[in-house]
């Protein structure tokens, strides 16, 4: 009757999962820009990030997926939502953006898609979907060893530089947010 | 409020609080643990179930009643102090004259509906003739039941 038809069209369960997830990413991304309410668009952004994380999982890049959820859902988007909550009012639908140069925008995104396709297509084994990396390549242990290794393959120096950069941002943020004594006295005198 | 203290004092206080804070929490926990593991401490009553064995607390103020001896004699002299003490006008002391022509208590009318069980009348009574009873099941379906006459006999004078 159905000689393996529905299951052999894509290569297997993983491929079905990939197409489903990709569809959800597209839908949530479109919703994110199409929805009028700004908070709803933030929520759709979150869902789009989460589905991207699921896409990473399907590619066996587990740590990247978790970092995606951790950084974007747990960090960035929460702060976006916080900002929206503190600045906007409920029931304010006046969030219509008219892009004056539709044609240029369209052209820009089209060129972006073109560049992506141009870069990705020459990758060998793209169609067959074979995993080229060794089995344990993306495990947390290997990841950490590579990140903190000081051999030619290691990334210890960029890692440390990034941490110094983060420290600098932290100190800068505190310096800006801190009220100096003169400020406090000025405010008290008022 | 910003206090002016030196850094050393601040650190001293900080370290002291690091010890006293958890200690106070442990003290609190010990109290609740004692309560938790000692069922005898429970004060709530399973009221309708333990109706037979329930004993009201001594200081509970139910409705007003007259102190009477075995023969039903009371000590009221119809002086009207309770009537004057009552903030809600729940008491009406109706006096009559006995055969000897002396003013005695005729009827002690008590409007339970407006009584707040404050107990001021008991405090005001110079002869100790009234008290608050222990009765607490005082609900009724007939408002006329709330108008009662407390004395069975005329007062002694």
């Amino acid at each position: 009757m159905f000689p393996d038809l529905p299951l052999s069209f894509p290569m297997g369960g993983m491929d079905i999962a990939f197409y489903v997830v990709a569809l959800v990413i597209l839908l949530t991304a479109v919703c994110c820009v199409a929805v009028k309410n700004i908070l709803q668009s933030a929520v759709f952004l979150i869902f789009s990030f989460v589905t991207t994380a699921i896409l990473y999982l399907l590619m066996h890049a587990e740590f990247i997926a978790l970092a995606q959820v951790m950084v974007y859902v747990g960090g960035v988007v929460i702060f976006v939502v916080f900002t929206i909550l503190l600045t906007s009012h409920l029931g304010e639908d006046a969030f219509t953006t008219k892009i004056p140069r539709v044609f240029i925008a369209f052209l820009l995104s089209l060129s972006f898609v073109f560049v992506m396709i141009k870069c990705i297509l020459p990758t060998p084994d793209l169609a067959s979907g074979l995993a080229n990396s060794p089995a344990d390549y993306s495990s947390l242990q290997n990841f950490a060893l590579r990140l903190l290794g000081n051999d030619p393959n290691g990334f210890i120096i960029p890692f440390e530089i990034v941490s110094v950069l983060l420290l600098m941002t932290l100190i800068c943020a505190i310096t800006i947010a801190r009220r100096t004594k003169e400020d406090a006295e000025e405010e008290a005198s008022k | 409020m910003q206090e002016n203290i030196s850094t050393l004092q601040y650190i001293k206080r900080y370290l002291k609080r690091c010890i006293t804070g958890p200690w106070s929490l442990i003290c609190g926990l010990s109290v609740t643990l004692k309560y938790f593991f000692n069922p005898k401490r429970i004060v709530t009553e399973q009221y309708p179930e333990n109706r037979k064995t329930l004993k009201m607390h001594e200081r509970f103020r139910g409705r007003l009643e007259m102190i009477e001896d075995e023969e039903g004699n009371n000590r009221c002299t119809a002086c009207g102090m309770c009537e004057r003490a009552c903030p809600n006008a729940s008491i009406n002391v109706l006096a009559t004259k006995n055969i000897a022509g002396k003013k005695v208590l005729g009827r002690y009318v008590y409007h339970f509906a407006s009584c707040t069980q404050c107990g001021l009348c008991v405090e005001a009574c110079p002869f100790g003739a009234i008290r608050m009873s222990q009765a607490f099941e005082v609900a009724t379906t007939d408002p006329n039941d709330l108008e009662m006459i407390l004395n069975k006999k005329e007062g002694q004078g």
Binding site: M1, L66, V69 | -
Partner: protein, 373 residues
């Protein structure tokens, strides 16, 4: 892998059974792919049902327990009327809750309003799937269990923020913002403590964290690292209490100030979901504490063979649930004993005390491993 698969006995049984049943089907629709997909789906359904039973089934028990513990701490009896000692009281409450009319306040953002309780439920359910209840009883034996737990905890904040904002109520918004700030702050120390556990056990997989504690009671992580283990346990207790928004850190709800915080406007089933999420979080956090510090499903052996043999006859699941409910009891005693700190005190406590102590603890743990371990 992240594909849910029941580990050995049950999963293998299903994988074994499906081809044998498939033999009775007409030959034209038989195929190995179909068999494996169906076996996978059946396993997934079993996993989902198991997680739901553990979570939803334990919520009424916890609510009953909370009411009883609360009552006995306050010299009361608690629910006594429905069933023996009020045992079916919570079931009645749940039924009442489910049959109530669900409506949103006017001016509320309907989509967000009904989405928020669902988002809140994500994190506790995922965490529950990772917990090893026994040697073979774990839904997802993931190699990166701890990072996943840290990652999904963000959903809780999101749900509360959305629920509070979409209610169109100032109390809700205040409660949501407060709890958002609180949960983001305490997530840091929560993650730090889990990192400490990862460091001393050398694995992010919850199963191997548990297996590292095999032996006597002194092999549990809480006792194995002399003083640090106990300090870490206390810090985990504090930060997870704050993470769950439970008293004494319940400034998100704070009935006296905010009438109910982010779920002021919720009723019926959505409210029940918030409530459920709170209690499932209680279960999962207790299970996490049990797995990371209290030896998971291993019995509390003392090193004397005669006693140990008796203890080992009890299955691991029983030990695990006994430890979970002990932890839950601890959380409840703390809830009904301590007073709620102010918002600024709460933040000060996290940023000025808990976080530095956590960092020192991490360094001390590393030193302990480098020198002694």
């Amino acid at each position: 892998m992240f594909v849910p698969s029941v580990t050995h006995p049950i999963g293998d049984f299903v994988r074994d059974l499906v081809p044998r049943i498939a033999e009775y089907l007409p030959a034209s629709i038989q195929s190995d792919t179909l068999n494996s997909v169906i076996a996978f789906l059946i396993n997934a359904v079993i996993c989902i049902i198991a997680v739901c039973i553990v979570n939803i089934g334990s919520a009424p028990i916890l609510i009953y327990m909370e009411r009883k513990v609360c009552a006995h701490v306050q010299c009361r009896l608690g629910p006594m009327r429905l069933g023996w000692h009020g045992t079916i009281q919570t079931i009645a409450d749940v039924i009442k809750m489910l049959f109530k009319e669900v409506y949103a306040p006017s001016g509320a953002d309907k989509l967000m309003f009904y989405l928020a309780p669902l988002i809140v439920l994500i994190a506790p359910f995922i965490v529950c799937a990772l917990i090893p209840f026994d040697k073979n009883l774990v839904v997802a034996d993931v190699s990166m269990g701890i990072p996943l737990i840290i990652a999904v905890n963000g959903f809780g904040v999101l749900g509360i923020l959305l629920g509070g904002w979409s209610s169109n109520n100032k109390y809700s918004l205040l409660g949501a913002l407060r709890s958002g700030a609180q949960m983001i702050s305490y997530e840091i120390s929560f993650a730090m403590i889990l990192l400490f556990v990862v460091m001393i056990s050398g694995s992010t997989n919850l199963m191997s964290i548990t297996m590292g504690q095999e032996g006597t009671i002194f092999d549990w992580w809480i006792f194995k690292i002399p003083v640090l283990g106990f300090i870490a346990f206390i810090l985990f207790f504090i930060s997870s209490t704050a993470e769950m928004n439970r008293a004494p850190f319940d400034i998100a709800e704070a009935e006296q100030e905010l009438t109910g915080g982010y779920h002021t406007e919720y009723n019926g089933t959505p409210f029940a979901m918030f409530y459920l999420a709170e209690y499932i979080a209680l279960i999962t956090n207790s299970a996490l504490a049990t797995t990371c510090f209290l030896g998971g499903f291993f019995p509390p052996c003392v090193g004397i063979d005669a006693i140990d043999n008796v203890l080992k006859m009890v299955p691991g699941v029983v030990w695990f649930f006994a430890k979970i409910y002990f932890m839950v009891w601890c959380y409840m005693m703390v809830r009904w004993t301590f007073v709620r700190p102010r918002v600024d005190q709460l933040m000060d406590f996290e940023w000025k005390f808990l976080l530095p102590v956590n960092l020192v603890l991490l360094v001390a743990g590393a030193a302990f491993i480098a020198i002694g371990g």
